[in-house]
């Protein structure tokens, strides 16, 4: 697949990067692009020595849509909808980042009602994402039942989303200046009286079924170790970095909307292994429940959207906005020339940086542990490829 000029130096010797890839007696296997454990179209080329991993080389791009190039010809109202297709499990939060960026650049004051609704939606999305991750990760490890347990609760959540946003996955509910329309009239009742009590009554099942399971613990304890320094150096964020003791919760460090008005804890673990990453996410579900409980019955009356111009023009300059998605720090970097479309846009996606540490944390471990490490990194492939 490589052109000969890419492989060779001018003196006809192989370039070092290609020599390092493979040695003659290496055994190479491929995982993906179609494989249940990668949750999407990720291709991993794994070099083995017996059962020990020597190198994991991710081959990306199977779902690359060049969202960054696409956004260069989309207006500041349109580009939000493309971002739902990046990390589709955190679509509300992706939309939130884009809306916040436009509001910051145009100095729009968002009504308090909209801010409350947005944060509630963000946290519901986070719970939905973590539930799906929990089921899917347990399935990777060979336990099939948790998947159905997780989807049982998640189903109610997607129905609530469907009532308000009209969609179950790619919501597209947030717009610059607020939200698109008022939540459905049953929204408050369904979240506070139906969903939260249901989830709270089921959380202990998750812990009995998986967390305390000795087979599961043996597979994740001490597997895929990521140290504090490495987590920062690899640019990891979100639960992956917090499991290594890094304080990186954007909601705490750089609060947006009403996150500075609610009480919640930044979940930190220090072990840095797969079990720590698992525990961070499980405890984050509880924190999200607490955030929603503080807000859901206190949504103020008022407008759900600030008045903005029909055609948005950002002033000339560079803008950066970050939010905490279910996977970590999503950064939107926009270079504006003063027009109606971005001159250049870059999405710093959490999955891309989190994936880059996969080779490091699996090197020297057994091939069977790869799935445990990969499962607890919580990779979403469209988020990595963009």
């Amino acid at each position: 697949m490589y052109h000969i000029n890419e492989l060779l130096n001018s003196d006809n010797t192989l370039k070092p990067s290609f020599v390092a890839m493979k040695e003659s007696d290496d055994y190479t296997i491929n995982i993906g692009p179609q494989h249940p454990a990668t949750h999407g179209v990720l291709h991993l080329v794994i070099t083995l020595n017996g059962e020990t991993i020597k190198k994991v080389d991710p081959d990306l791009g199977f779902i690359h849509r060049s969202i960054e190039k696409m956004c260069e010809s989309l207006s500041y109202r349109q580009y939000i909808y493309v971002t739902s297709r990046m990390d589709y499990l955190s679509s509300h939060i992706n939309n939130h980042a884009c809306a916040l960026l436009v509001e910051k650049a145009l100095q729009v004051e968002v009504p308090e009602r909209a801010q409350y609704i947005r944060v509630i939606m963000d946290e519901l999305t986070r719970i939905a994402s973590h539930l799906l991750w929990w089921g899917a990760m347990a399935m990777d490890m060979g336990a099939f039942t948790p998947y159905f347990y997780a989807f049982r609760e998640r189903e109610l959540l997607t129905e609530i989303m469907e009532d308000t946003c009209g969609a179950r996955l790619t919501m597209n509910y947030m717009v610059p200046g607020g939200v698109m329309h008022d939540p459905h009239e049953t929204f408050v009742h369904r979240v506070s009286k139906e969903f939260l009590p249901l989830l709270k009554s089921k959380l202990h099942e998750y812990e009995e079924l998986v967390t305390g399971n000795i087979i599961f613990q043996n597979r994740v304890n001490g597997v895929g170790l990521l140290t504090y320094e490495d987590a920062i150096s690899y640019g990891c964020s979100g639960p992956t970095a917090r499991a290594s003791g890094v304080h990186c919760d954007i909601r705490k460090l750089y609060p947006y909307d009403v996150y500075n008005k609610v009480q919640f804890e930044e979940v930190i673990e220090t072990a840095g292994d797969s079990m720590a990453r698992y525990m961070v996410r499980m405890n984050e579900i509880k924190q999200s429940i607490s955030i929603i409980e503080q807000l859901i019955n206190n949504i103020p009356e008022g407008d759900f959207q600030a008045k903005t111009k029909a055609v948005l023009k950002l002033p000339k300059g560079e803008f950066y906005q970050r939010v905490e998605t279910a996977r970590g720090e999503l950064g939107v970097f926009v270079v504006s020339e003063g027009g109606t479309t971005p001159y250049r846009i870059k999405f710093r996606s959490p999955g891309f940086s989190n994936l880059s540490c996969l080779d490091h944390i699996t090197k020297g471990s057994k091939i069977g542990d790869l799935v445990a490490s990969m499962g607890t990194l919580d990779l979403v492939i469209p988020d990595i490829d963009r």
Binding site: M1, E6, S17, S73, F333
Partner: protein, 151 residues
């Protein structure tokens, strides 16, 4: 550390840096030849300690390319944006992936999308695009008659 204190510290490390303000963070313009030694000092300095490279990208300005590095410190919580102006025909800059490991993947992405060559990068191959892809898609003059939909 606020912007004024940062300016003094950064000028001490490299006298030739220029600053731009007005955005959210302090912008630091660095000559590409000075970038690598400067980057080493940014991480090593105890007062600055920029250990977290959270965004690395490139912007095509049609006359030149600009590398943009967003750096922050997890200890002191200050942030700067470093910019390197590169020649558009032969863009070359030293890699920083031995200082911040996250740069390895981000530089591979910039390499295939913009054609910037990173000197001393350990594994500079295409990451997202197929290996036989011709051209640099995120450049402004990129044309693809088959796959590109123009709005």
């Amino acid at each position: 550390m606020d912007n004024e204190a940062l300016k003094i510290q950064l000028t001490e490390l490299l006298p030739s840096v220029t600053f731009e303000e007005g955005g959210e963070w302090l912008n630091v313009n660095v000559d590409p030849n000075d970038w690598k030694p400067f980057a080493v000092k940014l991480k090593a300095s105890a007062e600055l300690y920029f250990d977290y490279l959270f965004c690395l990208t490139c912007v095509d300005w049609k006359t030149h390319l600009t590398m943009v590095y967003h750096l922050s410190s997890t200890k002191h919580r200050h942030t700067i944006v470093v910019k390197c102006k590169l020649d558009r025909t032969t863009p070359v800059v030293e890699t920083v992936c031995d200082i911040w490991r996250t740069a390895e993947f981000h530089e591979r992405e910039v390499f295939e999308m913009f054609g910037v060559e990173f000197k001393n990068h350990p594994d500079l191959r295409k990451l997202i695009l197929p290996a036989d892809w011709v051209g640099f898609p995120l450049r402004k003059d990129y044309e693809d008659p088959i796959n590109m939909i123009k709005l």
